[in-house]
Amino acid sequence: MAIAREAEPVGSLQEVKEAGLDREDLLAVYRNMLITRGIEERGHILYKQGKIPGSFYTGRGNEAAAVGVATAMDDVDVGTPLHRDMGVHVTRGVEPWRIFAQYMGRADGPTKGKDGNVHMADSRLGLLAMVSHLPAMLPVAVGCALAFRIREEKRVAVGWFGEGASARGDTHEGMNLAGVRKLPVVFICDNNQWAYSTPTYLEYATEHVADRAEAYGFDGVVVDGTDVLAVYREARRAIEKARAGGGPTLIECLTLRMEGHAVHDDAFYVPKDMFERWAASDPIERFRSWLREHAELGDQEEDEITSAVKKLLNDALTRAEESPLPDPSTLTDGVFATPEDLDTPHHK
C-alpha cells in the first residue's frame, strides 16, 4: 500500500501562476528542456562519429524531472545532479559548449578532461560534481544542508538519486541523518524504472521509493516525472518548506529511461509496449501541447524558440570542437588543493 502522497497534475495557467511561474518562465522551461535533449542528441552523434571517448549516457525521458526541479531552486541553493539530469546543468546556466567539450575530453570542459560524461559541475552555479558510485553524493548534499543549518542560512540543498541507488546504504544514512536533524534538504528520486537491466521490483519491495520518507520522519511525494509543471510545483513546495525550517522531503519523479543504460545498451530487456506507453507521454511533447493549449504558444513563436536552440547548439558544438585536448603536463595538477583554492565565495 502506498504511503507517499501522489501529486495531482497541474491544470490551468492560473494554477501555474500561483506556483510562481509567469509566461516568460514557462518558455524558459520549454527552452531548457529542448536544449537538454538537443545536447544529448548531438552527443549521440558525436559518439557515433568517434569523437567521444569512453561511454556515453543520456537522460532521454527525464528532461521534465530535471528542468522542473532546477527551476524550483533559488540561486543560493545547491544540488548534486546525476547522469540523467543534464537539464539541471542547463537550467543553472552551464554553457552548452562547455558540456560538449566535457563529452569530448577537451581542455575547456568543466573537468578539463580529467573526468568524462556528466561527471562535472560548476560550483559557482551551486552544483557539485557527481561520482559513479551512486548515490554517494546524497550524504554530501545532506552535508551542504548541515552547513546551512549550522550557519542559519536560508538555503536548501537538493540531492538526486535513482531508484537503483535507493538500494544502497548511503541513501539510508543520508536520509536518516537529514531526518534526525531536520535539515534543509530535498531528495529527488529519478525513478526511471530500470537500474541498468534490473526492474524496480528487484530493487525495492514497497510500492514507491517515496514511501520510505515516512520511516525517516518526513514527507514523501510521488509525481509524474513527465509533467514538468507538476514536478516544478512539488519541488517548489518542498524547497520552500525546507527553507522555512520544515525539514526534508523525498520527491519521487516517475519516468522511463527511454534509451539504454548507456550508448552500448539496446535495452532489449525493456518490454516494447512499455516504451510505447511512455513515448506517448514524452515530457517535451507534453509540455509543448500544454503551452499551445494554455499559454498561447503559436507556430511562429515555437519556430523562433526551436531555431534559437538549434543555433545555440550548433555554435556550441563548433566552439567545443575548437577546444584543444588537455596538455598531458596538466595530469598531476590539483591532486592537492592549495590555500589559494579556498579563495571562493563559499570559503569566505
Binding site: 550524504p139 554530501v140 548534499a141 545532506v142 552535508g143 548511503d170 541523518l177
Partner: protein, 324 residues
C-alpha cells in the same frame, strides 16, 4: 607551557582551533554529551553548543559524506571516527568523493578525520588497527601520525587549516601514557617535516606514531652495546619527508623502517624502496623492515605481544643490521 598528555594536547588543539575559527565544527558518534569515547571533546558541547559539536547517528558514511558537503560549503569539519577501524564504513566517501573532488572538479574538500588507532590493550581485530597505508595509496589524501603531545596539537591545527582531506591518526596507546610540556598558545606544526627524535651515527630508524617510543627504548638499550641509532619520526606520511630520510641514511649508511601496521603493503615498503632507489650507493646493508606480521590484530595479550613489534624485536632487528 604546561605538562599535557597526548590526549589533552589533542583536545587543547581542537578547542583552540574552534575558538579561533568559527567555521570549525565537530561531528561524530558520542562526541557531544558524552564527550567522545576517549573524552577528547569533553565539555565541548557546553562551550560551543549542539550545532558545533554534533552527535551523529551510527553512520560513518553520512558523517564523512556530510563533512564533505559542509566543507565544500565553506566550513571546516572535524569528524571523529570512534575507532580508526570504522573508517572502512566511510571508505567510499573518503576515497571516491573527498580525495578526488579537487583534482577532477576543482572543488577543495578541507576536512579532518580524527582516527583513534593502534593496539596494545586487547582491543582485538576491530579496535586496534593502523590502516594508514591503505589511505596513503590514495592520491588526494594527507596522512598525519603524531607521536608527541606537542606534535599532536600542532599537527591537528595544521590538519584543520589544510585545504585537503586529512586523516589524523591519533594513537590510543599514547593517549594517557605520553606527557610533555606543550605551549599554551595556538600554533601549527608543518606537514612533511620529519622530527629527529634521537640523533645517532650507525643506523637510521624511520618510524611514526607509537613506534617512536618503542624505538626510543630500543635505542637506549642498543646504546649500551655501542650501537648509535638515529630515530626519525616522520610525523606525516603524506607528505613524507624524503629529504630528511635520505640525508640521515647518507650519514649512517644503514636504514631500518619500523611500523605497527602489518608488513605487506605497509608504508615501510614505500620508504625502503625510495631509499633503495635514491641512496643505493650510500648503503652498507639492505634496508630492513620491522612490522607486525600479516595477520589481523589478535585479542589475547599473549598473541597481541607477538603481533605488535616489541622493544626486543627492534633491538634484535637493529643488532642484525649493525652486524651486517
Amino acid at each position: 607551557m604546561a605538562e599535557r598528555t597526548y590526549l589533552q594536547a589533542i583536545s587543547d588543539g581542537l578547542r583552540q582551533e574552534m575558538q579561533h575559527d568559527k567555521r570549525v565544527f565537530v561531528i561524530g558518534e558520542d562526541v557531544g554529551v558524552y564527550g567522545g569515547a576517549f573524552k577528547v571533546t569533553l565539555g565541548f558541547q557546553e562551550e560551543f553548543g549542539p550545532w558545533r559539536v554534533i552527535d551523529a547517528p551510527l553512520s560513518e558514511t553520512a558523517i564523512v559524506g556530510g563533512c564533505t558537503g559542509a566543507a565544500i560549503m565553506g566550513l571546516r569539519p572535524v569528524a571523529e571516527m570512534q575507532f580508526s577501524d570504522f573508517i572502512s564504513c566511510a571508505w567510499d566517501q573518503l576515497v571516491t568523493v573527498a580525495a578526488k573532488q579537487r583534482w577532477r572538479a576543482g572543488t577543495p574538500v578541507p576536512i579532518t578525520v580524527r582516527l583513534p588507532s593502534g593496539g596494545g590493550f586487547s582491543g582485538g581485530p576491530f579496535h586496534s588497527q593502523n590502516p594508514e597505508s591503505s589511505f596513503a595509496h590514495i592520491p588526494g589524501l594527507k596522512i598525519v601520525c603524531p607521536a608527541t603531545p606537542g606534535d599532536a596539537k600542532g599537527l591537528l591545527v595544521s590538519a584543520i587549516q589544510d585545504p585537503n582531506p586529512v586523516l589524523y591518526f591519533e594513537h590510543k596507546h599514547l593517549y594517557r601514557r605520553i606527557k610533555a610540556e606543550v605551549p599554551d598558545e595556538r600554533y601549527t606544526t608543518p606537514f612533511g617535516q620529519a622530527r629527529v627524535h634521537r640523533e645517532g651515527d650507525d643506523i637510521t630508524l624511520v618510524t611514526w606514531g607509537a613506534m617512536v617510543w618503542t624505538a626510543d627504548e630500543a635505542a637506549q638499550e642498543l646504546e649500551g652495546d655501542g650501537v648509535s641509532v638515529e630515530i626519525l619520526d616522520l610525523r606525516t606520511l603524506i607528505p613524507w619527508d624524503k629529504k630528511a630520510v635520505l640525508e640521515s641514511v647518507r650519514k649512517t649508511s644503514k636504514a631500518v623502517v619500523l611500523h605497527e601496521d602489518t608488513h605487506t603493503g605497509g608504508f615501510g615498503g614505500e620508504i625502503a624502496a625510495t631509499i633503495a632507489e635514491e641512496a643505493f650507493e650510500d648503503l652498507d646493508a639492505p634496508v630492513k623492515r620491522i612490522a607486525a606480521p600479516d595477520t589481523p590484530v589478535p585479542f589475547s595479550p599473549a598473541l597481541e605481544k607477538a603481533f605488535i613489534p616489541q622493544v626486543e624485536d627492534v633491538v634484535a632487528g637493529v643488532r642484525e643490521l649493525a652486524d651486517y
